[in-house]
Symmetry: C2
Subunit: 441 residues, 2 copies
Amino acid sequence: MANKHRLVVVGGGFAGVALVQSLRKADIDITLIDRRNYHLFQPLLYQVATGGLSPANISAPLREVFRKQKNCRTLMGEVTEIDAVQKWVAMGDQKIPFDTLAIAAGATTSYFGNTAWEEHAVGLKTIEEATEIRSRVLWALERAEISQDPAEIQKLMTFVIVGGGPTGVEMAGAISELARYTLKGDFRAIDPTKVRIILIDGAERILSSFEPSSSQRALKCLSRMGVEVWSKGRVKQVEKELLHVDRQGNMEELPAGTIVWAAGVKGAALGAKVASATGAAIDKSGRIPILPDLTLPGYSEIFVIGDLASVALLKNSDEKKFVPGVAPAAIQMGQYVGKIIQCRLSGNREPAPFHYFDKGSMATIGRAAAVVEIPWPKLKFGGFLAWVAWLLVHVSFLVQFENRVLVLLQWAGNYFTRNRSALLITHPTELVDDPKGTPRH
Amino acid sequence: MANKHRLVVVGGGFAGVALVQSLRKADIDITLIDRRNYHLFQPLLYQVATGGLSPANISAPLREVFRKQKNCRTLMGEVTEIDAVQKWVAMGDQKIPFDTLAIAAGATTSYFGNTAWEEHAVGLKTIEEATEIRSRVLWALERAEISQDPAEIQKLMTFVIVGGGPTGVEMAGAISELARYTLKGDFRAIDPTKVRIILIDGAERILSSFEPSSSQRALKCLSRMGVEVWSKGRVKQVEKELLHVDRQGNMEELPAGTIVWAAGVKGAALGAKVASATGAAIDKSGRIPILPDLTLPGYSEIFVIGDLASVALLKNSDEKKFVPGVAPAAIQMGQYVGKIIQCRLSGNREPAPFHYFDKGSMATIGRAAAVVEIPWPKLKFGGFLAWVAWLLVHVSFLVQFENRVLVLLQWAGNYFTRNRSALLITHPTELVDDPKGTPRH
């Protein structure tokens, strides 16, 4: 056993889990390290943020995922140091040696250097952020119900989402449904159907990675749902419940009770440790440029996969493009590295450079509305059919890990009743003025 | 509308909700104030603490509960002041006038004056405490898996529950099931079926409010599940992961990775404000002694109901006994006050003094094990039948508020698979040594 090849995987997201799963029959010792004890299905975080699903519905405990894969042990904790020459990673005072290392630490929210904004505009990358948004959205309405100051009420009933990518579009649509349908009739002094929802995007059009016609479709759909879209809007400053926005040249002050930040991501902080241990570069979005076989330059036994990796797309066009930071790409990278490791162990020739197979893109806007683009056969569609496609893809992802029939049932129930069952304001100390008696968080 | 009778209810627990619901057809203006936006089904908190249910499964948003009851508005916030003479309660700078006031603020965990223990021994009265216990239990096992120090591992695999009432018994049983069945096979270095679970109780026997034979039954059941019961054990000091216990004269130091406090409750802090506003007394458990019609002495229009009230039981025996702090008693008090208010409004004679109707007591110990006692017809039973009775009573409670079919399905699933779906370690900053990168909580 001591002679077995030792693979250490850092990060239990899509890339790390796909890698470990692809080696389920390999005669090696795998150690999977994560700061969390669960794999998180990030594409559905916006559902937690708007009360449609509970955190546990979109999380699979890593130990459960790998219970039967006996060649894998899972450790929860933080990688504090990496030694690429002596080949170990440290968790505190414990060193874990490796023969092969795969870094799959993912990405975090980027405020483009404005770290002070983080407190006022919540990102959407973790369970805690999702429940924080949920609490802020609901708490804003609670305060509006009590308030007798019209300006205050108007501010509290304004919800701003910064960033018009799929996450921002999904959040805007979900907040609209929450306020306009789920909470309709729940208040006595305010009318939640009168909320103002503003989606701010710096680009010419939302969903800029999609075809223009899909952006149009999404825009029309959002307008129908009462969402204002501010294209070419640049957020200059974020304060507590206040944004300063450059709207095509005009500076505008926008008071808003809830601000969600979906404008950008950057590579995880672990990237810096990888760089200092190996001399690797880090690009301006915090990602690590790697070779076409996903290894670090100079270290053929260290791979970087998933959102932390910056990999050029192999395309005939001259334009330099990169593999996008999406779940299917992360999974494909994990599986590719699994294949390389198996080839090396068996002495077979290594596979050709990593090639990202683009299965298409989708974004959902609300109940029964979505846009789908499939590159081959070239196909674009929207509306109910796109929403069903979106639902099927996401549910099939979920059931990979566990029997998540309940999620499907809950969604089916939500769809017909427009009910959202997880509308809790938790950890309210930050919110309630006098937190005496509330728990210590 | 301005002339309608104004009822203000403080607290949306069992008592407050029952009171408001009993007045659903009354032509009055009701204001329900709570610090939370949901009604919490506290008897099932231990299921959240052990990952069997998600917080949303046992919480019903108050606005949803009262959506259709148009004579009731709900306000979320803290009552900061009470004026019993001018008849208003204040939430910050806002005064809410009342004609009738019902205080139903409930109870919190009591450390019997040792407030420093709170940090080390988590109570079980709120969602946050339940998820905190869940995180601590799972995080202790995670640390044990990594540790190479046998004493540390032994400590981390020791779970102590202080208090042998129904909550303590239920927690001990549920932790045992979690470790011995759900997590079996999940770890590589440690064996979670080898955990040590200790239930400490100061009395001669656990479940001391039950008949001795039920205590015996529960004891036998817990022993079978590997729970050590330390009766007549007195906790003298609680430090971080360490208890000092007086075990029938011998002082014992007990290191334990997780300590749960289920030893006592006291009336909510609002009781002090009620006392200073009305001159009411507060007994040593923080409860307010009230008259047989549940009003405060000298204030016939101020009621105290639920766990905050101290009401003498009307019994023929000489022994002075009190209405117990359980959900059925709270509900009966709420309904009783609803009846009084209706009598007063219609000019009818007020009902006879409050009489607590004891429907019986039940405690569940684990999967398919429980004890049930019904006073009339005098009946005591345990085992599977008792568990089914327990389940039916609890599920029927839940469905009162919402269509909680999913909870039933989830339980059915859990029962057959021994699965627990909500095993997340959330808000880990307190737990992980280097919380960099984790959310701000």
